[in-house]
């Protein structure tokens, strides 16, 4: 009887491994459209190594649960210490993880490095439940904001008297980006936490009220993609959706001006 149940558990585990592995070979990540391919590479290697660990440990579990199921006359071994073996697997695991860590920290440093000087600066301000997008305009300077001036018509409280604000380009839920040029997104929030998530660009960063946060990346292909909010921000969290339009660099100014007409 024990053999049968052992077999059952072993089979269930094998099936799990097979199905899980099969589906993990499918391309789940949304297609990449930015220069953050290194994140995909990291995911690939992580999948590979954890996948191997997953398969090996589970197959061992399956094998043992069948092979060592109780049988008449059987007696378990009396074996409960083996320092060499224990140190070996501890150190091997530590070594594998150390490699991961090393790689991960390098990548993290790269992602968090300062944006290039020629980066296009866009300010994105989260608000329940919309993304306010602002470009500096010709003068290259973003106008001052003052929250006490915020209103229905002026959601981010732009100070109209500030000369720098005159040519600021304001858009709602629409983000235009030139292809191939680094963009530095400066995030703010008017009310609660939001998270600026561009699934196709491997970009995510929280917008925190009272604080400036930022992230930068380079869009590599033209097209229209979605902006999502990834931090619970209230009952409209699920529909805090925007659009990114990556346009050829040459058309960028024109497209932006056109969009600003509305």
């Amino acid at each position: 009887m024990a053999k049968v149940e052992g077999l059952l558990f072993a089979l269930a585990t094998v099936v799990l491994v097979a199905v899980a592995t099969f589906y993990f070979t499918k391309p789940w990540l949304p297609p990449l459209h930015s220069d953050r391919g290194a994140i995909d590479t990291a995911i690939f290697w992580t999948l590979l190594v954890t996948g191997i660990v997953f398969i090996v440990t589970n197959l061992l579990l399956a094998w043992f649960s069948y092979r060592f199921a109780d049988a008449p006359g059987a007696r378990a071994a009396y074996w409960h210490d083996n320092p060499r073996l224990e140190w070996t697997w501890t150190l091997v695991t530590a070594a594998i993880l150390a490699v991961f860590l090393f790689k991960a920290l390098g990548l993290w440093a790269k992602v968090n490095a300062a944006a290039p000087d020629d980066a296009l600066v866009v300010e994105v301000t989260g608000q329940q439940f919309a993304w306010n997008v602002r470009y500096a305009g010709k003068d290259g300077r973003l106008g001052r904001t003052d929250h006490t001036q915020a209103s229905q018509e002026n959601p981010i409280g732009l100070v109209k008297e500030d000369p720098a604000s005159a040519d600021d380009v304001l858009l709602l839920n629409q983000l235009y980006l030139p292809q191939g040029r680094p963009v530095r997104v400066q995030l703010r929030s008017m009310d609660v936490l939001h998270s600026f998530f561009l699934p196709h660009f491997r970009v995510k960063q929280d917008a925190v009220p009272g604080m400036n946060t930022h992230t930068w990346f380079t869009p590599t292909q033209t097209g229209d993609f979605e902006i999502a909010c990834a931090e619970h921000c209230g009952l409209g969290h699920y529909r805090m959706r925007g659009q990114v339009h990556v346009v050829p660099a040459a058309d960028f100014e024109a497209r932006l001006a056109e969009a600003a007409q509305f």
Partner: protein, 102 residues
């Protein structure tokens, strides 16, 4: 206990502690009034704060006379956890300040 064995009043140690604590407190107040450099003041005050804590814990709460394990457990538990809180959280305030919208 050990104090009585030495033939002195068992209460002597408390009064001595009391006197030291008062002296330290007065010293701290004077340092405050002296307009010392900030870093020195901070170091001075924090060190003597710890001295006071040790005096109270050791003499009034008798940790000095307990098994060392108890003192380690208490001091270690409080200090290590507080240190983590302070190093990882309170120090993060510098970053937050830098990013604060003014």
């Amino acid at each position: 206990m050990s104090e009585t064995a030495a033939g002195k009043s068992p209460y002597r140690v408390y009064w001595i502690t009391w006197a030291i604590l008062l002296v330290i407190t007065v010293g701290m107040l004077m340092a405050e009034a002296l307009h010392l450099p900030r870093w020195f003041l901070v170091a001075f005050l924090l060190s003597f704060m710890m001295v006071k804590a040790v005096m109270i814990g050791g003499n009034f709460m008798h940790l000095r006379f307990e098994k060392p394990g108890l003192a380690f457990m208490v001091a270690g538990g409080i200090l290590l956890t507080s240190l983590i809180l302070y190093l990882f959280i309170a120090q993060e305030s510098a970053h937050v300040l830098e990013r604060t919208i003014r």
